[in-house]
């Protein structure tokens, strides 16, 4: 499996200042994992997400957010751990 340079874990709502900073710091071999209120980005029409995006499934379920597999892959806690292990470094926003 391809390794990830930086895994960005983003738990802030789309309007939060850290959300913008996170998106603008994403680079080619990075991956983005949306957790908690970060998953609202998937239903926010004011945003376009590109690249390698994951979303934590329990947080999607809690908020009744339909996971759109073409935008983000829904993963559970075990897969989140595996993802973290694949990344050379992790930034928790």
């Amino acid at each position: 499996m391809a390794s990830i340079r930086t895994l960005h874990i983003l738990n802030k709502r789309p309007g939060h200042p850290a959300f913008k900073s996170c998106l603008s710091s994403l680079e080619n071999q990075d991956a983005l994992l949306l957790t908690e209120n970060g998953v609202l980005a998937l239903v926010d029409k004011g945003l376009t997400l590109e690249g390698c995006v994951y979303a934590l499934s329990p947080d999607l379920k809690a908020r009744a957010i339909p996971g759109d597999a073409s935008v983000a892959q829904a993963i559970d806690y075990d897969e989140m751990v595996a993802l973290t292990a694949r990344a050379q470094r992790v930034i928790s926003w």
């Binding site: 609202l40 239903v43 379920k61 809690a62 009744a64």
Partner: protein, 116 residues
């Protein structure tokens, strides 16, 4: 005196929304006219069939469905915010009145409260 409580925070992120809801319920308990307005990130409270057990919480859409039982007079949602988060009558809980917040709604209330 009519009170409008503004819910502008996404659910589950922090406790401010729960506290605002609690305040609205308490006003209703003492028969004070109170309504809720969901706007901005707050409209995400209204999405149907939340399964909050997945994150060990209680589903806010189910909590909200008790509002009219307790005497909350109306649940309003800002139309633009709903559009932004892809919410329509099929994805929202029942009993929501769409409102254009820029219009007269705020002016109809003597007391408008936002906790965040």
């Amino acid at each position: 005196m009519k009170t409008l409580v503004i819910m502008n925070q996404a659910p589950y992120g922090d406790w401010s929304g729960r506290e605002a809801l609690d305040m609205a319920f308490s006003l209703a308990a003492f028969d004070q006219p109170v309504a809720l307005l969901f706007t901005g990130d707050g409209v995400n409270w209204l999405r149907r069939e939340q399964e909050a057990a997945a994150i060990s919480q209680k589903a806010v859409d189910r909590n909200l469905a008790a509002a009219t039982i307790f005497g909350v007079t109306a649940l309003y949602a800002d139309q633009q915010s709903c559009h932004r988060f892809g919410l329509d009558q099929h994805t929202m809980i029942a009993g929501i009145t769409l409102a254009d917040t820029n219009a007269g709604l705020l002016g109809e209330y003597d007391h408008v409260i936002s906790l965040s």
